[in-house]
């Protein structure tokens, strides 16, 4: 193997339980987004555009569909003779094997993979964020500042800071303190979950962490605090473009609809920074005589005869005459039957919303606490004329029952 300046390790093993039925059969990074993408398309496309051609993807939860999606890495130009994309599942050695115990342990178990490329630094990424970022600039910053670890951060409103890992920095942006979801945050610099480590430091702290029986083997909870305590140089790298964690149903819905908001700058078709994805062979979409389509994204293979407004429609979706889809995300292969109404909902793959059914409700701002996005899980068949209220989550039963 030829040496690589930087190897990226993408943590894709989480169960994503806050996405509920959407991750029933799928690892979170494989969840569809934006009409034709999967979440993982973003870090992978960022890597290749940043000149990083060696990426390890750490999987352990429901990896089959994700593995197939990644395949040889061709769609992201990551099929390389030297380097390229590698799926790293837990494995057994002479003394048996371990599942990945935490984010840090997952990387620890694959230090052998990283060592083969003898990199100067390692980029740690997550599989659940939507953003476009030139990692090469961050790596350059890491080298220039002589840091042991560089953490990308962005400013968030102080009243939202308690949802994030929060950095305190000195005037030179050197990190002085890290708090995981502080109750009373004193800084508004949130970690984006993107780290650059000098490889020797990463190896040292992962090994120490592994020997610490009390550790939860997590980057945020264990590795970063240990490095700070030992006085290593950790530096914040500021990022100010679009970035969104899509770990919850609401944030996934929001991130989709952000694509329709002209004020939000997330251009997926910039020829210099395209977001690549694996696509299937489908004829172009057909917009029928009775259709009315406004302010929406619609994808190949769709057959639209109904009304679509402010929605993201994935490939192969059928919306029949008289049906209405508003403020919703309709994933591949769904069928919205005649006269049905879908609002403020995420409708997963291969579902059917029966004739005249109503799914989702618009927000009632007097009772915002009770309101929420409705999710129709993969393969669910909603009966004709059924009424499904706000914040419902419909799961397909084993026997294929309809609801």
């Amino acid at each position: 193997m030829k040496n690589k300046q930087c190897v990226a390790m993408l943590l894709a093993g989480g169960q994503g339980s806050r996405l509920g039925v959407l991750t029933g059969k799928l690892a979170k990074p494989a969840v569809p987004y934006g009409g034709k993408y999967r979440i993982i398309d973003f870090p992978l496309s960022n890597c290749i555009h940043s000149g990083i051609d060696t990426v390890g993807i750490l999987t352990q939860y429901k990896p089959l569909e994700l593995n197939d999606y990644i395949g040889s890495g061709k769609p992201w130009d990551l099929d390389r003779s030297n380097g390229g994309v590698h799926i790293l599942a837990p494995y057994q050695g002479k003394e048996g094997g371990d599942w990945y115990k935490g984010t840090a342990n997952a990387i620890y178990q694959n230090l052998g993979f990283i060592k083969r490329y003898n990199p100067e630094c390692v980029l740690i990424l997550s599989g659940d964020h939507i953003y476009k970022m030139d990692y090469s600039k961050m790596i350059e910053f890491h080298k220039q500042s002589g840091a042991d670890c560089t953490i990308s951060v962005m400013e968030v409103p102080l009243d939202e800071a308690s949802r994030f890992g929060i950095m305190h920095v000195a005037s030179d942006d050197r990190i002085t303190k890290f708090e995981e979801k502080p109750k009373e945050p004193k800084s508004n610099l949130a970690s984006m979950g993107v780290y650059v480590f000098s490889f020797n430091m990463l190896e040292k702290y992962l090994s120490e962490d592994e020997n610490n029986q009390n550790s939860s083997n997590d980057f945020g909870k264990d590795i970063i605090p240990a490095m700070l305590k030992a006085g290593e140089k950790l530096v914040a790298y500021r990022f100010s473009d679009y970035w969104k964690d899509v770990g919850t149903v609401d944030s996934l819905w929001e991130a989709n609809l952000d694509l329709l908001n002209p004020k939000i700058h997330l251009n997926l078709s910039d020829p210099k920074w395209k977001i690549y994805s694996r696509t299937s062979e489908l004829p172009p979409q057909y917009i029928g005589k009775t259709a009315k389509v406004e302010n929406s994204l619609i994808t190949a293979g769709c057959d639209i005869a109904g009304n679509i407004d402010y929605s993201i429609i994935f490939e192969n979706v059928t919306v029949e005459q008289g049906a209405t889809v508003e403020y919703s995300v309709i994933m591949p292969g769904a069928v919205i039957k005649k006269g049905a109404t879908v609002r403020y909902s995420i409708v997963a793959q291969n579902t059917v919303v029966g004739e005249g059914a109503t799914v989702g409700e618009e927000p009632d701002y007097n009772d915002a606490h009770e309101w929420g996005i409705t999710v129709v899980g993969e393969g669910v068949k909603v009966k004709n004329n059924a009424v499904i209220g706000a914040k419902q989550m419909l799961r397909k039963e084993e026997d294929g029952e309809t609801v």
């Binding site: 934006g34 009409g35 034709k36 061709k74 769609p75 997926l268 078709s269 395209k274 977001i275 690549y276 994805s277 696509t279 062979e281 489908l282 004829p283 172009p284 979409q285 057909y286 917009i287 029928g288 005589k289 009775t290 259709a291 009315k292 389509v293 406004e294 302010n295 929406s296 994204l297 619609i298 994808t299 190949a300 679509i308 993201i312 429609i313 994935f314």
Partner: protein, 372 residues
């Protein structure tokens, strides 16, 4: 298993002359069609869907865009270690049209010589159809045919030199095959897809090589008695692109759901080179109906009864009706286009409406800027 015994040959330049507005710098095979395809996608996909893993594309002139489109054959799963997609480029170019034709036939013979196959499916490039080649080859084998000619029932003959008009008996055996151009009425017309047994292929092509008119169809027509020639009717949709009029009409036929369902049969998908386009973005002012729209478009105007290729932009207030707009065309604000066929990357629009007619679409050339 048929797939390992059968090779495919595609003549990529056949009938280039039929549509010279769009084939000045590309072969017939690379003519864009149906929003995201090129004509050759239909021939290759038909072959691949029958399991055929050896496909030779005989190129002649203007094949840069074709090379770029086909690449290593990856998108048709034909980037294989042995076999797969082979581009068969010309030997040193000839001085005349006849030289070129001879060279194509010679290369087809050479290509097949190196394949270990019993049957050859040879395709011209002027048609659009989703053919079940597996069934056609099975019928060929069952009937112990030397040649099987795929045909359609049509009311009018197309304008291709190589089309044959067949008379067949009850068993589909061909009694006569005549140059369809000599006839003014329709009937059973070949579509340029022939199945040969290997020896008949070599025989017929070698005969063509040594004859004054080096056309395969000519030899088949003359020697119908000598070989076991059968017909096979394709009952599904066949689009024949033999003029700019038929290009426009065939494009418009796609607005018919039955035509789309037949052509884009889910069991036998049509493969093409994929690009990383976004989904199509419909703006606040978009008003689209009865149209085929490829991905990557941005539409904020009115689009009716039209076919829009990848990356077409229709600006606010523009009206596009009964148009075929190829990749990357931009339609300016408040302009009106009716019955327009535009080649790639043109910029169109102005105060005066640009209109063709049902019988004669207005043609815009590649990269043309047509504004006022």
């Amino acid at each position: 298993m048929i797939y390992s015994k059968t090779a495919g040959i595609i003549f990529s330049n056949s009938n280039d002359k039929a549509l010279k507005e769009f084939t000045a710098n590309r072969s017939m095979a690379s003519l864009p069609f149906a929003g995201r395809y090129r004509l050759i996608d239909f021939a290759i996909s038909n072959l691949v869907n029958a399991g055929i893993q050896n496909v030779g594309v005989i190129t002649n002139r203007n094949y840069n865009s074709l090379l770029d489109h086909l690449g290593s054959g990856l998108f048709w799963d034909l980037d294989r270690k042995s076999g797969g997609l082979s581009i068969v480029p010309p030997f040193i170019g000839g001085n005349s049209k006849t030289d070129d034709e001879l060279d194509c036939i010679l290369r087809a013979i050479e290509y097949i010589k190196r394949r270990n196959c019993e049957y050859v499916v040879a395709c011209e490039s002027g048609f659009v159809a989703n053919l079940d080649i597996k069934k056609i080859v099975e019928a060929h084998i069952e009937k112990k045919a030397d040649v099987t000619l795929v045909y359609r029932e049509a009311e009018r003959p197309d304008k291709f030199a190589g089309t044959l008009k067949l008379k067949v008996d009850k068993d589909e055996k061909v009694a006569s095959a005549e140059n369809a151009l000599l006839s003014k009425t329709g009937g059973k017309l070949t579509i340029g897809v022939h199945v040969f047994t290997r020896s008949a292929f070599n025989d017929i092509l070698s005969t063509a090589l040594n004859s004054e008119n080096p056309a395969i169809s000519e030899i088949i027509s003359e020697k119908t008695g000598k070989y076991r020639v059968y017909g096979y009717e394709h009952k599904g949709f066949v689009g024949v692109i033999d003029s700019r009029k038929s290009y426009f009409e065939t494009g418009m036929e796609l607005l018919d759901k039955e035509v789309r369902d037949d052509l884009f049969n889910k069991e036998r998908p049509i493969y093409t080179k994929t690009k990383d386009d976004m989904p199509t973005r419909y703006g606040l002012y978009s008003d689209v109906s009865n149209s085929i729209i490829a991905d990557g478009c941005i539409i904020d105007g009115t689009v009716k009864n039209s076919v829009l290729f990848r990356g077409v932009r229709v600006k606010r207030g523009a009206v596009v009706e009964n148009c075929i707009l190829m990749q990357g065309v931009e339609v300016r604000e408040n302009s009106t286009l009716k019955y327009v066929t535009s080649d790639k990357n043109a910029v169109i629009g102005g105060k005066a409406p640009i209109t063709g007619t049902n019988r004669k679409a207005f043609i815009v050339k590649k990269n043309q800027v047509l504004t006022d």
